[in-house]
Amino acid sequence: MAHIVLVALAGLTYLLVLGPIVIVLITAFSPTDFFVFPPPGLSLRWFAAFFNTDSLRDAFVRSIQIALTSAFLATILGSMAALFVARRKGFLASLLQTLFLAPLIFPAIVLGLALLLFFKLIGGMPEFIGLVLAHSILGMPFVIRAVSASLLAVDPVLEEASQSLRAGPLRTFGLITLPLIWPGILSGAMFAFILSFGELNTALFLTGPGVTTLPIEIFSYLQFQGGQLVIAAASAVQVGMIAVMVVILERLVGLSRVVRSN
């Protein structure tokens, strides 16, 4: 009896988490002018409308540019931080670790406001660069966790062997460490991309007129023009990108790492 209740609650969880996304995905293929569920047929007209609407297409392209740039920065900086922090013990290392992982739980809305004000105080910052910086800070913890997990799996004996053969730190890294940890680096980069591609809280403050991201553009459509079906298509494009990334990630580092990284 107790077990039936538990299974029912678990089923409810899946319904509540997946239901809204599935409905948006199905609606995106609707041939009708307004929301009808289930749609009477299938069509791609709202996807065509999405790519023919300048503001949406521009936001989509800019979101990809920002996600690529910030993921690149987060990967470089996060890998460096992980290489320094991961295998060190002691007060300083754990303090640094706490600092670098803080954005995972820090209310991003406060960071967004702080950055906006800070950029104004130092005399201005182009929106694109401001967004890239904010998303790099938010993406770094994901890279650090992915790279640290890979690093801790590397047997230090291999690096010691390389050093005993008089390879310097750089050669040892390039020949031994990097080939062993690259799946971690790549998966960290993809998590950083995914985070930036859907991020709202700092983007709310840091986007400006003419420079918005896709999630912010969807938000302002919903707020000011109602839920037109072109927004369902925009949302489906968002979900589709994520789905492709997840499939690649699964191939790259396996299911258990994908699940544990959140």
Binding site: F106, P107, I109, V110, L111, L170
Partner: protein, 289 residues
């Protein structure tokens, strides 16, 4: 040779740390420090903030009944969300725990992927379901149960419920990881001592899973505080939480007030996090070998 080797290693380590640390100090620590500094300044018509120092913004927040209402509403929204997430999330993780590895991971992946989808898309899904022309209203109208659409959005319930479903996967995953780390021997030991399933749960499984419950609850509550977009889309213009006031203050160019509300929000985050840790005492599990 030995000295030279050590030297290059030390420089290499510093060269590794310097760039990420510099970026963090410049674009994470410094902005927060200056935000804190701004929160103690008088407002100004022409500049971002006035010259004189003041605690008036904090005083307003602590004395004005309007802010009390909003803070209480924020806390009760968070409380409802935490409670529902705990029940649904724990039950789900508990059902998943005994499944074979591959099946369990796949079912968890189905909950992780929605976390990667932008919250605005997930909130839109709830608008499509609960809205005036949404799924529920059209179903009820077609079956003739109602003539006029029910107003399901723009309410405390819509925000709490919608936001709960958006954050629920975090709870499931945290608890599932904790349950997965529990050694089966503990449960077997309890059963061999003739503890019934209920007693085994209360004295063994629940305490051992408390770190997962604590981290899930922390994450859910902290993300609730920040979820401006979801709150605005599902709650409408009237159902404001603390985070909405930050935006209202920025919209009115009252930067010092916005800064002060942000730090009250942070204080609230810290206080509730501490409360969760005190109640669940996850640290008592860490001694297990």
């Amino acid at each position: 040779m030995a000295d030279g080797f050590r030297l290059t290693r030390r420089w290499a380590a510093l060269a590794l740390l310097a760039p990420p640390l510099a970026v963090f100090l410049m674009f994470f620590v410094a902005p927060l420090v200056s935000l804190f500094w701004v929160s103690f300044h008088a407002p100004s018509q022409t500049e971002l903030f006035g010259a004189e120092l003041t605690v008036e913004h904090y005083a307003t927040i602590f004395t004005d009944p309007f802010y009390h209402t909003i803070i209480l509403r924020t806390l009760s929204t968070g409380g409802v969300i935490l409670l529902l997430c705990l029940v649904l999330g724990y039950a789900t993780a508990y059902v998943l725990a005994p499944l074979p590895q591959r099946q369990r991971l796949f079912l968890l992946l189905l909950l992780v992927v929605p976390l990667m989808v932008s919250n605005v898309v997930r909130a839109y899904g709830w608008i499509a379901i609960l809205g005036r022309q949404g799924l529920i209203n059209s179903l009820l109208r077609d079956t003739g149960l109602i003539d006029r659409p029910l107003l399901l959005l723009n309410s405390f319930e819509a925000v709490s419920f919608g936001l709960m479903t958006i954050l629920l996967p975090y709870m499931v995953i945290s608890v599932a990881n904790a349950l997965n780390a529990i050694d089966v021997q503990y449960r077997e030991a309890a059963q061999s001592l003739r503890a019934n399933p209920f007693k085994t749960f209360v004295h063994v499984t629940w305490p051992l899973s408390s770190p997962g419950v604590a981290s899930g609850m922390l994450l859910v509550f902290l993300l609730t505080l920040s979820a401006y977009v979801t709150i605005t889309l599902l709650g409408g213009p009237r159902m404001k939480l603390l985070v909405s006031l930050v935006f209202d203050a920025v919209g009115a160019f009252r930067w010092p007030l916005a800064a002060a509300i942000s730090f009250v929000l942070l204080a609230l985050a810290l206080a509730i996090s501490a409360l969760i840790l005190v109640v669940l005492r996850p640290q008592r599990v860490q001694g297990r070998g």
